[in-house]
């Protein structure tokens, strides 16, 4: 399900530690000071575009190719996440082509 390397636009490779990556790729990010809900990871998001991720306190704790894998991981590790969503597949997706 992962997109080709050429479509990994605007991603920033960062160092990985912490998030469980349930595929063959790596994960991560940084924290930005903001009043809004802050999301961050401790590794690089490169290669997990389109993945499903679960977060706790704004930090990605697991990433996988499917929602089922994320939920199974949460059950196996007896974790309850704050949120789950899918990383964008494209620039258009992050800029919000609002569905009707």
């Amino acid at each position: 399900m992962l997109v080709p390397e050429g479509q990994l636009w605007q991603l920033t490779a960062r160092h990985l530690s912490g998030a469980a990556i349930l595929d063959t790729t790596r994960a991560s990010g940084t924290r930005r000071s903001s009043s809004r809900t802050s999301l961050r990871t401790t590794g690089s998001l490169r290669g997990i575009v389109g993945a499903w991720v679960a977060t706790v306190d704004g930090e990605v704790i697991v990433a996988a190719d499917s929602a089922r894998e994320v939920v199974v991981w949460l059950k196996e590790h007896d974790r309850v996440a704050d949120s789950m969503f899918r990383l964008p597949l494209s620039e258009q997706a992050t800029e919000g082509a609002a569905p009707a």
């Binding site: 605007q10 809004r36 994320v70 939920v71 969503f85 899918r86 494209s90 569905p99 009707a100």
Partner: protein
């Protein structure tokens, strides 16, 4: 119940404008709520088809329809499900009509008129980046 706007740029993806996103609990999924975009222009509430499978939602008798979502032609199957939102101090659950769609290339689930907006009185401040959801009584 007040929720802060959210964007994905914190994860190093793009430079998106923060949007009104609410974490919604789908009945049958007890390990995580689903980040869902409040879309005042959407007629219905739509979610990824695979979430229905994970949550054990029975779609066998659901109405099926094809429609366009943000340029994507998707097939949706309708079901009545339990949805819930909450904060540390408050929680609200309701019975909702949801379309489970595939393909689903979006980051968030979508909360529209049917299934979400009709159940709440929404106050939103894009300037201050929050929205408040008060259950209709």
């Amino acid at each position: 119940m007040r929720f802060s706007f959210r964007d994905l740029s914190e994860l190093g993806i793009g430079d998106a404008t923060p949007r009104p996103v609410v974490d919604v609990w789908l009945g049958g999924l007890d390990r995580t709520p689903l980040a869902s975009l409040v879309d005042t222009g959407a007629l219905g509430t739509r979610m990824a088809f695979e979430l229905a499978e994970v949550a054990g939602v029975d779609l066998r008798s659901g109405t099926q329809r094809r429609f366009w979502l943000a340029g994507h032609n998707v097939t949706g199957t309708n079901a009545r499900v339990s949805l819930g939102i909450g904060t540390a101090n408050e929680r609200h659950e309701w019975d909702a009509s949801v379309w489970f769609c595939e393909p689903w290339p979006f980051s968030f689930q979508l909360l529209g008129l049917d299934g979400f907006l009709r159940h709440f009185r929404i106050t939103m401040s894009a300037y201050q980046e929050w929205l408040d959801c008060a259950p209709e009584v």
